[in-house]
């Protein structure tokens, strides 16, 4: 099957490929998919103290549509708040890239990756806040 122009654009020239330090408390990492299914996506978000996504990086194992979907969402999330980023749907991704029906799962994976990265960040925050609470009590 032929790829759409948009898919090719992102596939040939993917944006925000790379790795952020997953130990950084301001970084949320979402790793979704499985090698046996043919696609694994990792999306990392760097969130400012004001709660804005100031950077995003991805690395993906998968077909051209999966790579394009990752690249697209890594662009879209930048500058958004977590709540705004969480509203990005697979439908919007599929529409933007004109994904053929058999490739819709790639956009689903991209949506899952955003959600997983946000979830990871929030858990980190909760842990940090959790450990801070007793200290606050002491003070």
């Amino acid at each position: 099957m032929q790829y759409s122009e948009k898919i090719l654009e992102h596939f040939n020239n993917p944006q925000n490929v790379g790795t952020l330090d997953s130990a950084d408390p301001n970084v949320g990492t979402g790793l979704v998919g499985a090698p046996a299914c043919g696609d694994v996506m990792r999306l990392q978000l760097k969130i400012s103290d004001a709660g804005i996504i100031e950077d995003a990086r991805f690395k993906t194992f998968g077909c051209g549509s999966a790579i394009a979907s990752s690249s697209l969402v890594s662009e879209w999330v930048k500058g958004k708040t977590l709540d705004q980023a969480a509203t990005i749907t697979n439908k919007a991704v599929a529409q933007e890239l004109s994904l053929p029906p058999v490739k819709i799962h790639c956009s689903v994976l991209a949506e899952d990756a955003i959600k997983a990265a946000i979830e990871d960040f929030r858990q980190k925050q909760a842990v940090r806040n959790g450990t801070q609470t007793p200290e606050a009590n002491h003070g």
């Binding site: 979704v32 090698p35 046996a36 051209g64 549509s65 999966a66 997983a116």
Partner: protein, 454 residues
């Protein structure tokens, strides 16, 4: 400057050799006669051309010309061999033995035969239940009613079932990690009711050569007809119907630099094997395949077989050297690459490589003007990874990462060098993007890792 296209998909099809085209042309123009027209020169010319081609095809596999039945291609040949034998020899039994890695033209024919039998059995169950209950029985009720009425032990139903002569039962044998069937388990699978065993000479995806002569000997020993799907192997590696003890052999022209739409089925005459035909009509091809003979294509197919036979040994040596060059070039520059299935028992022009941590469809896109194929699910509409690679027991992730290179008669050394350079570059770029490659490099155990399912 746009790069020239490189064709490395010679298992899918091959270009028509110039010499083949030359041989065909007169029969597309002035010599247009019907080979069955016995009353005039137009027919005689066509018949003579067909006879010559039949000889050329027969010689490729060590057969007699009269043992060659021309068909529309290998799919028809495989259908005719299996359906024809199962129907003709139904008095003997209804069992087929084949391999999980066979071509779809064999596997789907087997599945159809299985379905036919299951449907007949269901009809008989319904009939028996009606008899027992004295009322009409709906299809949906059959499973539960079969339980309550213990149809499993019903003697009358068993008697009826024993007379069912439609369809077949099929054993699909697994292969070992090298792609070959274990001879011991093959022999075990042969039953007194086995009519025919069907094994491919060479696999279309991983190029694996089966121990065909040994398999044939086992079939002989147990009185089982032996069908060889020789589509990928004939003309590429030595194959002889007597050494293989083959009773039925499928051949295809377009895998041998001949035209598409023509193939053949070898049907042994000594001892005589019979088949129920799929097509009825004018009784051509000893009554096993009616229909006006496709003279120009038959002529081309014959010529293609003649060339393949004459050049087989030198061509095999040349292709093996090119393949070696391809593999050395790739494996010396990339880590985490491996060859799928046996390198030793392999078609000279075949190389199936797993490029770990790079998805096959993406890799094919990246290679653009190099025509190869992948076992990855993402390249197929069904989203199922290659059943052949899965059958090797290497896990679906290997299928997703694999490319098949099919070298052929017109592949040059310069093309191989160009392919090495572009494949290497493409893999490196995609691994830059690949999270799995990064994890592997960091020493993460990817097999033991807990992946999220989706």
């Amino acid at each position: 400057m746009p790069k020239a296209r490189i064709y490395l998909d010679n298992h899918a099809t091959t270009p028509v050799d110039e010499r083949v085209l030359e041989a065909m042309l007169p029969y597309l123009k002035e010599n247009f006669g019907n080979a069955s027209s016995g009353s005039h020169a137009f027919g005689w010319e066509a018949e003579a051309a067909v006879n010559k081609a039949r000889q050329q095809v027969a010689e490729l596999i060590g057969a007699e010309p009269s043992e060659i039945i021309f068909t529309s291609g290998a799919t028809e040949s495989n259908n005719l061999a299996l359906k024809g034998a199962v129907d003709y020899y139904k008095a003997k039994g209804n069992h087929i033995v084949t391999l999980q890695t066979e071509h779809k033209a064999v596997l789907e024919t087997c599945k159809w035969l299985e379905r036919v039998r299951v449907e007949r059995m269901e009809e008989l169950k319904a009939l028996r239940l009606m008899q027992l209950l004295g009322r009409a029985v709906h299809e949906d009720e059959i499973p539960s009613l079969s339980q309550t009425h213990a149809l499993q032990e019903d003697l009358l139903l068993q008697l009826w079932a024993s007379t069912v002569q439609s369809g077949a039962r099929v054993s699909y044998l697994p292969v070992q990690q090298d792609g070959r069937v274990c001879l011991k388990s093959f022999e075990k699978a042969l039953q007194p009711s086995t009519v025919v065993a069907s094994v491919g000479l060479a696999n279309s995806e991983i190029g694996t050569l089966q121990p065909i002569d040994e398999i044939g000997a086992l079939c002989r020993k147990h009185g089982v007809l032996f069908h060889v799907d020789a589509v990928q192997g004939a003309g590429k590696v030595p194959f002889h119907v007597e050494e293989a003890s083959a009773d039925l052999v499928s051949l295809s022209s377009h895998k041998l630099y001949g035209p598409k739409g023509i193939g053949a089925l070898y049907v042994r005459k000594k001892p005589r094997i019979r088949l129920s035909p799929l097509l009825h009509g004018g009784g051509q091809e000893r009554g096993m395949r009616s229909g006006t003979l496709n003279v120009p294509s038959i002529v081309g197919f014959g010529k293609a077989c003649e060339i393949a036979k004459a050049e087989q040994a030198t061509e095999a040596t040349r292709l093996k050297a090119l393949r070696e060059r391809l593999w050395k070039g790739i494996s010396s520059q990339l880590d985490f690459v491996s060859v799928n299935a046996s390198m030793e028992h392999r078609l000279p022009g075949n190389l199936s490589i797993a490029f770990s941590f790079v998805e096959g469809d993406a890799l094919m896109r990246e290679l653009k003007s190099i025509a190869v194929s992948t076992g990855s699910a993402c390249a197929s509409d069904s989203l199922q990874p290659s059943y052949v690679l899965s059958a090797l027991g290497l896990g679906d992730e290997v299928a997703h990462c694999s490319l098949r290179f099919g070298l052929g008669r017109f592949t040059t050394e310069a093309e191989i060098d160009e392919t090495i350079a572009r494949v290497t570059k493409a893999v490196l770029r995609l691994r830059e993007i690949s999270v799995l490659y990064e994890m592997a490099k960091q020493g993460v155990d990817l097999k033991g890792f807990q992946w999220s399912q989706h």
